[in-house]
Each structure stands twice: as C-alpha cells, then as structure tokens.
C-alpha cells in the first residue's frame, strides 16, 4: 500500500532521514518507534508532501508521492494527523472538522455521517463545536486534530504521536479508536512514544534511530527485545 524506498531528507546541511526503507501493507496497523528527534515526524511530513525528499521514493499503490503536492497526496487518500495539531485556531471546532473533509467537498453526504461518528467518539467536541478551536485545551485540540484527519476519510492514516498531551483515560480510548479505524479497513501508520500501548494494537513495527531504520518486526518480537524494552517501554 505504502512503500518507502531509500528515502532521505535534509534540513539545510543536516541529514534527518538517511535511506529509510519500509512498507505498510493494506489494512495493516504499523507502529513507528523512535526517540525524540529520531525522524518519525520527518518521515510523515515527507510522506504528506510538506517537506521535499532529498532522495528516494514513496510509492503509494501505483503513485509516487515524492514530488506530489501536499493537496494531491491528501486527495489520493493519505491523510495525516500531525504532531503539534496544526488546527485553525480562530475557526469553530465544527468548521475545523468540516475542512477535514475538504477533498470530499463534492460529495458531502458521507462527510455528514463521518462527522456524527467523530462527535460520538469525542463527545466533548460536540459540546464545544461552536467555540474557536484555539480556545480549547491541549488535549481537546488533539481530539479535534484526530477528528479532522478522520473526516478526510483516509485510505492510509498517518498519526504522529496522537497521545501527546492526552490524559491516560483518553489515551486508552484513543488507542481503541485507532484500532477500530484500522479494523474498519483503514491502513494506519502510527508514530508513538507510548510504545507499549501502541505495540499492543500493532500488526508490525519499525524502530528508527537517527534517521535510519534499525529494527523491524512483529510486536512480540520487539517486546521481547531487551534494548527495546529498556529504551521505549521503561521497565
């Protein structure tokens, strides 16, 4: 479904991604683990066309994402819920969510249904739907961001640290939601610090260090690995 081939990325002279090769199969939920600054967000932002790759390719079905514009990538069905949320702070929560369905603007009926779903998932958002998104708390904003990504009805959903700043209860729910989204047929790629919870719902996982993939495997294998346990699970 999504295959990264030898992908590299530079910020100025700094090589942030160095020959990343990995793939996500259709219907899979793949977790990307890595320390701060390892390059997880960089992978996602390159996949979404926000940053331009310095080399390599990202194949999505029969399309090449490298070189495509961000908007075309979303239209093709690869949608990201970014780190740092990147909401429209002055717009109401509702408008934020509706803009999530921007690429489906010519087909509004399913978007309506999706909106119901999102609001059911995050009831607090229904309560705050007319407030400007910027006035919400950090966690509430995170919910809007996830909701907005879901509104794009993605085939592949890229989630960049969705649990950042969320309360444990919400995190738990959120992982359930992610699993549900995945089970209903959406391919999911998830970057997480919360490795334990993430691995519990994942099909496969990659570990990235300093812009390079250093390990790959199914969750059991990673959970059994001592260095991984030490670095990402903490026990």
């Amino acid at each position: 479904m999504l295959a990264f081939e030898n992908l590299s990325l530079r910020y100025g002279s700094f090589l942030a991604l160095d020959g990343v090769t990995m793939h996500v199969k259709e219907g899979e939920l793949v977790v990307l683990l890595g320390a701060n600054g390892a390059g997880k967000s960089s992978i996602f932002l390159t996949a979404s066309g926000i940053h331009k790759a310095a080399g390599g390719s990202i194949r999505y079905g029969d399309k090449e994402l490298v070189g495509m514009r961000a908007s075309q990538i979303v239209e093709a069905g690869v949608v990201q819920c970014p780190e740092g949320r990147k909401l429209f702070p002055g717009m109401s929560v509702l408008k934020n969510l509706m803009l999530g369905a921007y690429v489906h603007r010519r087909d509004p009926a399913p978007s309506k249904r999706m909106l119901e779903e999102v609001l059911a998932l995050f009831p607090i958002l229904a309560e705050k739907k007319d407030d400007p998104a910027g006035s919400l708390s950090g966690g509430q904003q995170q919910m809007v961001a996830i909701g907005r990504a879901m509104m794009g009805r993605p085939k592949v959903l890229l989630l960049d640290e969705p649990s950042l700043g969320l309360a444990p209860l919400v995190i738990k729910q959120m992982f359930e939601v992610i699993q549900k989204i995945n089970q209903s047929g959406t391919t999911v790629m998830l970057a997480e610090q919360n490795a334990f919870a993430a691995l519990k719902i994942a099909h496969r996982a990659y570990v990235i260090e300093s812009g390079r993939i250093v390990m790959e495997g199914d969750p059991e294998k990673l959970l059994a690995d001592d260095t991984i346990r030490k670095a990402y699970i903490g026990t």
């Binding site: 961000a70 239209e75 970014p82 429209f88 702070p89 717009m91 690429v103 910027g134 006035s135």
Partner: protein
Amino acid sequence: MMDMFLQQVLNGLTLGGIYSLVALGLTLVYGILHVPNFAHGAFYMVGAFMSFHLMSAWGWNYWLAMTGSAATVALLAVLAERLVFHPLRHASGLHPMIAAIGVLLFLEAAAQAIWGADFQRMQTPYNSIIDLGGVTAPAQRLLIIGAAFTLMVVLHLFLKKTVMGSTIIAMAQNRDGASLVGIDANRVAMLTFAISGVLAAVAATLYAPINLVYPAMGHLVITKAFVIIILGGMGSVPGAIVGGMIIGFAESFGAYYISTDYKDIIAFMLLVVILSFRPQGLFTKGVR
C-alpha cells in the same frame, strides 16, 4: 447646514469606500502570510497607472481599462508572492516586512521610470453631476460608493459562503494544517494575492479620476490602510470595512468641522486613542 452635513456624509462614504477596499486587500494578505505588505500601496499606484495607460495610450474604455489593470496588478501581486514572499514564508516577522519594503521601492522607481514623476490625470466617462437635494454628487463619486460596497459584499459572501473562501481563512490560520487537509497552500496564497491586487487596482481606478495619478500616490493611502487594519484588527475582514468607514468619516467631518490642516492627524490620533484602550484592535477575539 443640513446640506453641508449630508455633503460630508457623501465624502465620508467615498473616502471610506476606497480606504476599505485597499485595507481589505492588505488585511487578507496579512491573514495569509502575517506580513504587513508595504508594497500594497505600490500595487494601488500601479493599478492607477495601468488604467491610465490603457485609456490614454491604447484608447481602451474605462471599464475595460479597469479590468485590464486589475488583471495586471493581480499578476504582479502573484509574482511578488511567488518570488519574494513564498521563499520567506518560514522567516521571522521582520524579514518579510523588509522584503516588502524592497518591493515597494522597486515598483515606485519602476513606475517613475516608465511613466515619469509628474502628475497625470485620468479620464472617466461619468462626468455628470447629480444634485441630490442640495448635495452635489458627481457621478464618479456615486459610482465609487456603489462599486466599493458591492465589492465588499461580494468579498464577504465569497469568504463566508464558498469553500474556496474558507480555504483562504484556513490558510490564514495554519498553513501546514491547511495543506494537510488537502488545501493547496500555494494556490490559495496566490489566489489571495491576486484578490488583493484586484482590490487595489479597482480602488485606484475608481478613485483616480477625481484625483491625480503619480508615483507617490500610494503612500498616504497605504498608511491609512494600515491604520485601518490595526484599528479593525489585523486579518479581520469586517474590521477592515468598519475601520475604513471610521477613517473616511473622521477625515471628511474633521476637515469640515475642525480643520483641513489637521484632518490627517485626526485619523492617526483616533488610532492612538483606540489602541490605548483596545491593543488588539476592535474586531480581534482573544485567541490562545
């Protein structure tokens, strides 16, 4: 006395309409790029010269010239976005501002090189003077008022009711966020600049026939437009319209009832006073 009062209302509407149009373009661009576009006054000036040129040298009629000028300035604005502001979109606040000054200097010098420094006079087909019960209303002034308000309403509907309009607002609030929902950020930025260019050119072409055309003509208008958008809250569309009216009326009434000498100061003083009470402008909501 009533006549005179109404006369000033008419003047206020004329000035306010023009100011609002210019300020709208400025506020839209500010919203998208968070750059105070100092070059906007130069867009206004080029708009006037283009129309003048198309009419006097190529013999186009007024409306055709306005269209041509709007297209040219829109193109110019888009070019400025591509070549100057786009590369600076991640830079700190000061840099794009200074780049805008560079664009302004360039456009002014270029206009002077092409059209010379002296005052030019633009013709209009609407020379009749309509007498509205003692109030003198030259047709061109009524045209300005009508056209300015029509444009404002159209713009408002465009932003609020169309998806394309909300993409501009979305872009204004978070550029990356907009890209991630599939909005083509570049296209929206160009669209916004084009709209701001059109507004500037149309405002200039409406106003030039009752004024003069010369390279420095943008200075005062742009300074006023800045006053207006900080009065109204930068990036706020209703703010630009209301602010434009406030300044327009302050000027026409100030000139009549206080002194022509001090009418410019009145507008600026108003700003100082209002901002002392509402530092974020009249129309900005507190956003975290």
